[in-house]
């Protein structure tokens, strides 16, 4: 079902944990749908993401996309980070089953939410960053259309 990369990130998640006094924290998803991601960012004065951690409640894909997303943004500037799309996440994992693609969207959202929090805390506006939805339930797509 999952690629080797997904399994690797799932069983050895990178950057799992918390950052105390993080520059920005973002939580997205909802428990009803079975996945919640929380991202912690430590951003320096040059807008470079020095550190990133995550906590995730969710399936294997949710954990793996969180893990790979942290790798993709770590060391990047805020401006570079908001350009990390769910597509990049999927690619970095060598693909996801169709039913799990929404997890990569969640990871993208989580980064954005943490960046939004950072911007709010600092009282700045980040060019190109939209306010994250608190619930990305609508991204779900079901592989099998229900047939009667």
């Amino acid at each position: 079902m999952y690629t080797k990369k997904v399994m690797d990130h799932f069983s050895n998640p990178r950057n799992m944990g918390e950052i105390e006094n993080a520059s920005g924290i973002g939580t997205v998803g909802n428990a009803k749908c079975g996945d919640i991601m929380r991202m912690y960012l430590d951003i320096d004065e040059n807008d470079v993401i020095q550190d990133v951690k995550f906590k995730t409640f969710g399936c294997g894909a949710a954990v793996a996309t969180s893990s790979v997303a942290t790798e993709l943004v770590k060391g990047k500037t805020v401006q570079e980070a908001i350009k990390v799309t769910n597509k990049a996440v999927v690619e970095a994992l060598d693909g996801l089953p169709p039913v799990k693609v929404h997890c990569s969207l969640l990871a993208e959202e989580a980064i954005h939410a943490a960046l939004w929090d950072y911007a709010e805390k600092k009282g700045i506006k980040i060019e190109g960053l939209k306010k994250p939805k608190s619930d990305i339930h609508d991204h779900h797509d079901h592989e099998v259309e229900e047939i009667y």
């Binding site: 999952y2 399994m7 799932f10 069983s11 998640p13 799992m16 918390e18 939580t27 428990a31 009803k32 749908c33 079975g34 996945d35 919640i36 991601m37 929380r38 906590k55 995730t56 409640f57 969710g58 399936c59 294997g60 949710a62 954990v63 039913v99 929404h102 779900h140 079901h142 592989e143 099998v144 009667y148």
Partner: protein, 392 residues
């Protein structure tokens, strides 16, 4: 452990080697078509009928009341679709429960689109159908009550005898999906007032791809699959003789071993439940404590998600499931767990362990150790757990 630990016997069982051995001659030696006139084929017809008789005896029915199908699902579809067709003059209303298998629920939804009416009766927190609600749901137009014998996810066994009596009192047909119960608990269709019953071989050591529908004599029934005159004109298609022979063998073994096997499974199950509840906090047992299948345990672990747990168990060579196998791959939490009142986030964190005669105490101990370790690991990863700890 090096060896695989298979704890998903509600999804499917290992075909017993004795069953395979019994089937083997019917592939390349006794391969005739049972409908043919020559002696060579008569042996196959005989094998088929002997299978029918063994199965009939197992549920206190007559041989002529047993019809082979290709699955439990087909039997369920047949029972519902053909009954409503045959009894349309009486009415177009069916009663079932909220925790049926999709083979029943999706068939009901299909029938609703065709203009039939379906009432889905609630269950209580243990998964037991609310009989007062069931009784109230009865209308003059009700033609069928279909309530499963035992639930595939939480293992709860329904008060079948009571339901049979209610159906009889109102002159309504009673069908039960006994796919999980057949071979695990004693079933006598007369004593329980069952008019139709579905079962499937692969849940009791038989092959995947054969089931049967019991139809009480005298019930008007239409065909689901039309064609040749097989199964006494009721279910067309060249018969799967090897699997009928295998089904027979599986039933023979299941009956002969029933008492000892289920006692042993109950012991293992209760030991498992005891350890899990004692050693893993924020855990609940789903389903009824005693009115449950001997081999079923179903837990919800708060703050974690089921698939992650399954995959990590898999990495440790443990095969288990989260809800029904058929719905995995779906994103919605199990309709059964929601029906017993679990909130979504808790329903997502469920684990079903279903035993067979092959499981050992050692395997259970190893499994509990691993579940404990993994639940802890996943909780450490879980923002929900964080929030909970913080709030405390």
């Amino acid at each position: 452990m090096e060896k695989k630990i298979y704890l998903d016997n509600a999804a499917t069982t290992r075909t017993r080697p004795e069953v395979v051995e019994a089937m083997l001659p019917y592939f390349s030696e006794l391969y005739g078509n049972p409908s043919s006139v020559y002696e060579f084929a008569a042996q196959n017809k005989k094998a088929l009928d002997e299978g029918r008789t063994t199965i009939a005896n197992a549920i206190g029915a007559e041989s002529a009341e047993i019809y082979f199908t290709a699955s439990g699902t087909e039997a369920d579809n047949w029972a519902l679709k053909a009954t409503v067709e045959a009894y349309e003059a009486k009415g177009k209303h069916i009663i079932t429960s909220k925790i049926e298998h999709h083979a029943i629920l999706h068939t009901c939804e299909y029938l609703q689109k065709k203009g039939y009416e379906v009432t889905y009766v609630d269950v209580d927190e243990y998964g037991i159908v609310k009989l007062d609600q069931l009784k109230k749901a009865i209308r003059p137009t009700t033609v069928l009550i279909s309530i499963m014998f035992a639930n595939n996810e939480i293992g709860t066994i329904q008060p079948i005898k009571e339901i049979g009596a209610i159906a009889k009192a109102h002159n309504i047909l009673f069908h039960t999906d006994a796919v999980q119960a057949f071979g695990q608990v004693d079933i006598n269709v007369d004593e329980l007032g069952i008019d139709m019953l579905s079962a499937s071989a692969h849940k009791l050591g038989g092959p995947k791809g054969i089931g049967f529908l019991y139809i009480r004599k005298g019930i008007r029934i239409r065909s689901l699959i039309h064609g040749g005159a097989q199964e006494r004109g009721r279910r067309a298609g060249t018969e799967n003789v090897p699997f009928a022979v295998g089904f027979k063998k599986a039933v023979e073994i299941a009956l002969a071993t029933m008492k000892d096997r289920t006692n042993r499974e109950k012991e293992l199950r209760d030991y498992l439940i005891k350890r899990v509840l004692a050693e893993i906090p924020y855990t609940r047992l789903n389903g009824h404590r005693t009115n449950r299948l001997p081999n079923n345990a179903n837990f919800s672990f708060q703050f974690i998600e089921g698939e992650s747990l399954l995959i990590m168990l898999d990495m440790n060579n443990i095969c288990a499931s989260s809800g029904s196998a058929c719905t995995s791959g779906s994103l919605d939490p199990s309709h059964v767990l929601l029906s017993i009142g679990l909130p979504h986030e808790i329903a997502h964190g469920s684990l079903r362990i279903s035993l067979s005669h092959e499981n050992t105490l050692e395997e259970i101990d190893y499994t509990v150790d691993k579940v404990k370790e993994i639940v802890e690991k996943l909780r450490n990863m879980s923002p929900l757990y964080d929030d909970f700890v913080r709030k405390r």
